[in-house]
Symmetry: C2
Subunit: 247 residues, 2 copies
Amino acid sequence: MTDQDTRLVLERLLRLRDRREPLVVQIAEWVGAGIVEGRLEPGQDLNSVDLSRRFETSRTPVREALMLLEQEGLVEMKARRRPRVAAPTPQDIRDIYQVRKNLLSMLAGLLVERADDEELAELRTRVERMRKLADGGDVDGYFWNHVLLQERMTEIVGNPTLKQILDSLALRTLMLRHLGLTRAGRLAHSVDDQERLLQACEERDGELASALIAGATVRAQRAVEEQLEQDGAARGRKPARGRRAAS
Amino acid sequence: MTDQDTRLVLERLLRLRDRREPLVVQIAEWVGAGIVEGRLEPGQDLNSVDLSRRFETSRTPVREALMLLEQEGLVEMKARRRPRVAAPTPQDIRDIYQVRKNLLSMLAGLLVERADDEELAELRTRVERMRKLADGGDVDGYFWNHVLLQERMTEIVGNPTLKQILDSLALRTLMLRHLGLTRAGRLAHSVDDQERLLQACEERDGELASALIAGATVRAQRAVEEQLEQDGAARGRKPARGRRAAS
DNA sequence: GGTTGAGATAGTGTCGACACCGTTGCGTCG
DNA sequence: CGACGCAACGGTGTCGACACTATCTCAACC
C-alpha cells in the first residue's frame, strides 16, 4: 500500500480537489494517509504546532486540514484540547458496519435498476482484474481495486448523498478492511462475493444483489473483527501507545 | 418557529456543545438558524468579513463556523470563492429522502429489537403530545416535537454512527419539512403515521414498523415536493435573489 | 450595442503574535 | 507513601495585517 495510492484515494473520498487550497490538501492527505496506513496510532496526539513546523506553514491551514479529517471520523477534536487520531471502539466498528451493510444493500438494489449494460461490462472488467490480483495474492493491489470498484458503483447509481455517506464510512474502515484481507483465504472469498454480486446485477435481480452484498459485508466485518482480536491479543503483551506526534 | 428553538436543536444536531468554542457555536447557530428559517436565502453569499463585523470578532471563528455548516450540507464552500448558502436541487432533495427512507427503515427495525417497554412508553407519551398539537393546528410545536421524537428514537437505538448520519440528513431537510407540514391536512396524516409506527413497535413487529416509517417518509417527501412546486410557481413571478449577506 | 480588457474593489487564505487554558512535573502536606 | 496544589510549560483560540485573487466597473473597441 504505497503512500501515493492512499493519497489519491483520500483525495477523492474527501472530495479535496478544488474544495480546499493545495496546502490544506497536502496536510490533510499526509495525516489521513498516516492514519489509514497505521503510521499514526489511534489516540495519538496531533498537535498543530508540530504539524505546522513539519509543513513549514502557520497553524491555520493545519487546523483546517484536521477539521476536514474530523468530519470524516479520522480525527477527534474537542475545544481547547489537542486533536487526536480517532480510536474507534469495537462497538463503533460494529455500528459502522451495520450502517454500511444497510446502505450497500440499497446501493446494490439501485445498481440493478440504473446501471446500463455498458456500465455492467466495465464493472465485469474490474472484477476480473481483481480475480487475477487475488489469485496472485496481491493484497494491496486487490485492496485498492476493491475500494475503486465500490467508488465506481456509487458513481453509476448517481446519488451524491449516498456516495458521500458511503465514502465517509469507507474511509473509517479503510485500515480495518486492509487488515481483514490479510487473513488466510479471505482474498479468495472476497472476490467470490464480488463475482456473485455482479452476476446478480447482470441477471437484474435486485433482491439477490442486495442480499449478496449484505452477506459480503457481514463476512468482511467478521474477518476484520477476528484479525483485530488476534492483533489485540498480541499487542496485549507490549501495550505501547505513543503520545507525541511523529516528527 | 422561534429562533431559540432552532438554536437548541441545531446545537444538538451539530453536536456543538463542548466540541467548539462558544464564539464559534454562536456564529454557527445564527447562520444555521438563518438558513433553516429561510432568513438567509439559498445561494446567498456568506462573506466572512460581514459576518465577523456582525459578531465583532475576527474572521477565524467565522470560517470555522462556516466549515461546520458546510459538513452538514447547509453551506457550500469552494477554495477562494465566497461561501454560499447551499441550494439543493430537486434531485438532491429526492436523493436525500431516498437515503433517509432507507436509514429510517433500519432505525425502526432496530427500535423494535432494542427499545424496552419503558422507552416505548416514553415515546407513546411524546406521540400523544404531538397528537394534541396537531389537533390544535400548532405547526411549529408539532414540528419541533417531531424532530425531537426522531432524535429520541436514534438515541434509544444506540448506534451513534447511524444517529449522526440521520441527524445530518434531518438538518438538510429541516426547512423543507416545516414547509411540507404547512400543507392542508398534512399535520393529521403525519401524526397518524407516527401512531401507526409506534403501535407496530409495541407489537414488536419490526417488518411492519420498517414499512410504515418508509411509507411515512415517502409521504413527507411528497408533501415537501408539492409545496416546493407551489412556492416555485409563486416565486417565478418575482425571481428576486439577494446576493449580499444580511447586515 | 455588445464584447473585451485593464484597473479598481472586495474578499479569501495565510501568517506571526498574544492571551488564555490544559497539562505535567514537582514540592508540600496529610 | 499517596493525594493535593502550584507553578512552569506547552498548545489552543483568536486577532489584525498582508499578499493574492475572484469579481465588479467602466471605458475602449469592433
